[in-house]
């Protein structure tokens, strides 16, 4: 008998032979970080990678000390990206972020000193502590991916990923981000306390900052660009899933608890993020489950609840909407 041939249908869910560029490396980053360095943070790492692949930014809403900075640092190392950090305070100025021109006596001219924003991965801590003027300068830079200082425009490096954090429980002396600016973050997520066993291990092991410094770069800017291109061009978003996303955002707009639902930009973000999630799963098509899983991280922070339902959590409202929405199956 002749040699047995393959089954014809490639096993798309398991192997890497899907032609999705750099998927193996991205997955390696995910596994390395979540299993070795950032125990119990797999979901956060995953969402960060999705934000990176979908060319968006990440907002981490959590209390201090749960590993936000560690996450950002680890990511920058593993991804082979430069790292900048901005610690926001109420007196921080836009120039503290973007950089400023100082007079160089030796050369007798103004020289532009790049601010911390000129890095691939920028951690903006406590973003709600910055003044609205500074916030908006930052958010503009996030959106435009360039900075204009004193009439001169400087391009930000590519890839460019902002990981902003804010402490939701702190209210005094903060300038909460307006919804219009929240909309610019692709994903908003929390880290949460680690599970008991893992937390004990963390206590036992102490800080891992030094170890993180030693994480070898697995990806480079080029590979990330290739992976982003794969997400953009190779992942198929079917009409059925588009219908599903549309039905979902419509449901948020019509919901009785919600004053303002997910915007078209939010819908685009949801689609992009779903494609990135499908990339991570090794599929070249988006399934409704991708959308379902990302609806809350991508959508919840964009909702404005009605005044009388303010005490409810946006995430819970959105989760209930998703749970009731039929998925397109056939």
């Amino acid at each position: 008998m002749s040699v047995l041939k393959g089954r014809g249908v490639p096993d798309r869910s398991e192997n890497d032979g899907t032609g999705l560029a750099c998927r193996g490396e991205v997955l390696h980053v995910l596994h390395l970080l979540s299993r070795r360095y950032l125990h119990g943070k797999e979901e956060a790492v995953r969402l960060s990678l999705i934000a990176l692949l979908a060319e968006g930014h990440l907002l981490l809403e959590d209390i201090p000390g749960v590993g936000k900075t560690t996450l950002a640092l680890a990511l920058s190392h593993a991804l082979g990206l430069s790292f900048g950090r901005i610690q926001c305070t109420s007196d921080i100025l836009p120039s503290d972020i973007t950089g400023l021109s100082i007079f160089d006596r030796d050369e007798s001219r103004f020289r532009f000193v790049h601010g911390p924003i000129f890095h691939n991965l920028v951690l903006t801590d406590e973003i709600n502590r910055a003044m609205p003027k500074t916030q908006s300068a930052l958010l503009e830079a996030m959106e435009e991916r360039r900075v204009t200082v004193e009439g001169k425009t400087y391009r930000l490096p590519d890839p460019f990923l902002v990981v902003a954090t804010q402490n939701p429980s702190e209210q005094v002396g903060t300038f909460p981000l307006p919804e219009s600016q929240l909309d610019r973050f692709l994903i908003s997520a929390g880290l949460g306390y680690p599970p008991a066993e893992i937390e004990k291990a963390i206590i036992r092991g102490g800080s891992i900052r030094e170890e993180i410094e030693k994480i070898p770069p697995i990806l480079g800017a080029e590979q990330i660009a290739a992976a982003r291109r794969a997400v953009r061009e190779q992942i198929h978003l079917s009409e059925k899933v588009i219908d599903y996303i549309h039905a979902l955002v419509c449901a948020t707009r019509e919901h009785r608890f919600i004053a303002s639902g997910i915007s078209p930009r939010g819908a685009i973000s949801l689609a992009d993020a779903s494609k990135a999630a499908a990339f991570l799963e090794g599929r070249d098509y988006v399934v409704p489950e991708d959308v379902k899983a990302l609806a809350v991280p991508v959508g919840a922070h964009r909702l404005i609840l009605r005044a009388e339902h303010e005490p409810l959590k946006k995430k819970e409202v959105l989760r209930s909407i998703v749970a009731d929405l039929p998925v397109p199956r056939g």
């Binding site: 489950e289 379902k292 998925v327 199956r329």
Partner: protein, 636 residues
Amino acid sequence: MVRLKTLLNLLAYGVSLLGFLPLAAHLDAPALVAFPLALVVGAVWDRREEFPLKPGFATLFTVAAFVFYAAQVSRDHLIEPAVNLLVLLLAVRLLSAKGGREYPQIFTLSLFALAASSLLSLGIAYLFYLAPMIVGITAGLVLLSFYKVDPEAVLERRELRRLSGVFFALPATSLLLMLAFFFILPRTQQPLWNFLQPTAAASGLSDRVIPGSLAGALEERRPAFRVQSPPLPPQELYWRGVVLNHLDDRAWERRTPPRERTRVEGGEEVRQTFFPEPGPSQYLPLLDLPLELTGVRHQRDGDLVFSGRPRERRLSYEGVSLFGGRLVAEDGVDREFYLQLPQQISPRVEAAISRIVSAAAGDRETIAALEDFFIERRLTYSLDAGLHAEDPVDHFLFESRRGYCEHFATSFVLMLRRAGIPARLVGGYYGGHYNAMGGYYLVNESHAHLWVEALVDGREWVRLDPTTLSHNAAQAFGGSGLNWRRGLLDAVDHFWNRIVITYDLQQQIELFRKAGERAAPERWSAPSLPSAAALAGVALIVALPFMLRGAGNLRGREQRLLRRYLNLVRRRHKLAEIPPSMGLQELAEQVDDPACRRFAAIFGGAIYHDRPLSEEEFRECREVMKRVGRRGKDEG
């Protein structure tokens, strides 16, 4: 215990015989001889499991026959070569080896042969061939499915009995459906092929008679018409057709009669429904004396002649006659027109007339004397009259003294006119076979007759039938009744024509109209064109989604597969319900079943790529479904 092959052979012979018989009358000699021969030889050889015709010869023969008949084909001559070829092909098939491929060929050829016969004739016999053929072919096809599996199979008697239920149930259902379709589907009213070929000229009512020009009248058994009517005294059954009023040289013909006002009075009113056979004649026969005619477009002349268009198809019309009535010419007639004579009359005839006229006083006496003269001559009624064209009247009365109605009537009318009595010839039919079963008269072409009408006292047209003056009239018109067997056959034929063949579009509309009236008496008068169009539109709109669905049939297949899969998962994994908000992958994760994951990957890979499943994927999905929920058993 019966061998399957034997049964199939029997069915093949039976079915092909049923295809051959209705065509037999239309076949050429080669086919007519070849088929029965092939049937017998084939049957004999079958017992020996040998076949007289080797495949090569069979092909050669087939091609030769095809070429031969193809050469004969022309526009007017298409069906005959085709049916001959069909029968020859059938004969070849019967002679050559028979297997799983050849039996269906025999069945198909036979069915074609029977179908072809309907192009040549529309007799009721078709129905009697069709029904057993359908039964035979159904049985053959059922047996063939067994034969394909095991050509040497043997059937037990019990199995055969059970199978025979199928043999009859299937055709019975289809025949019932045929019955339903009969009333709905559009139909033709004549053999399909005949509309290209005008109906063959046949003897019948003619508006020109040349006595003595024919050696003898044709004794045609062909029916001229059937008429539903109450039974009437047989001696008085004169079916009036045409009036011949002008003698042109030697030929009696019909000229447009002069304007005359006539009235029919007295007698008994008789209503009849006529079913004339199609033919070239334009005259519409009615019982003498006719009063009115309805049901078909016609023209009525003053001398009670009704004419329409040549009858290309079967039709029916109704007539009202005054049986035993009197035809009164109210304002007199154009005497000169009805007294016109030939240039010369033989001296013997002249002498006879002058003797009669001198002895009689008045028209009635003259007529009586003339009748006496005919009786004296001892004329013989005979269809074998001999040919004498020179002076037929003289020859008939004084030489041969034998003839049929034409000789009697033309001689009589001539002598009447010579005696000064206006007279004319009436052509029609006399007599007919009363069919008590069907309640109608069958009138054949052989009943065609010619009699005389004379104007008595210038006022009343009186019917005179000189043929009855022959000395053997009693025997000649003894009224040969139909025996019961022929009566039954004719009755069946009549009702077949009445109910099936003449059932036309008009009657269909009538049927629907009546059904509509019954359903909604106050609203439906007749289905008007706009309302019919609206109905059709609504039907189309209702049908459209189904048609479109048919176009996207693949989608339906995926839907069905998914429904089956979900049901399967629910059952095997004992889920109460799969909520609509749950995706396939989510479901697979929840039940933690690799088969479900596989299904989700294949199925989702197709539909979330906006494409239908490929055949291979479809097959794999079905394979995977067999493993759903089976993991525990395999591994544990």
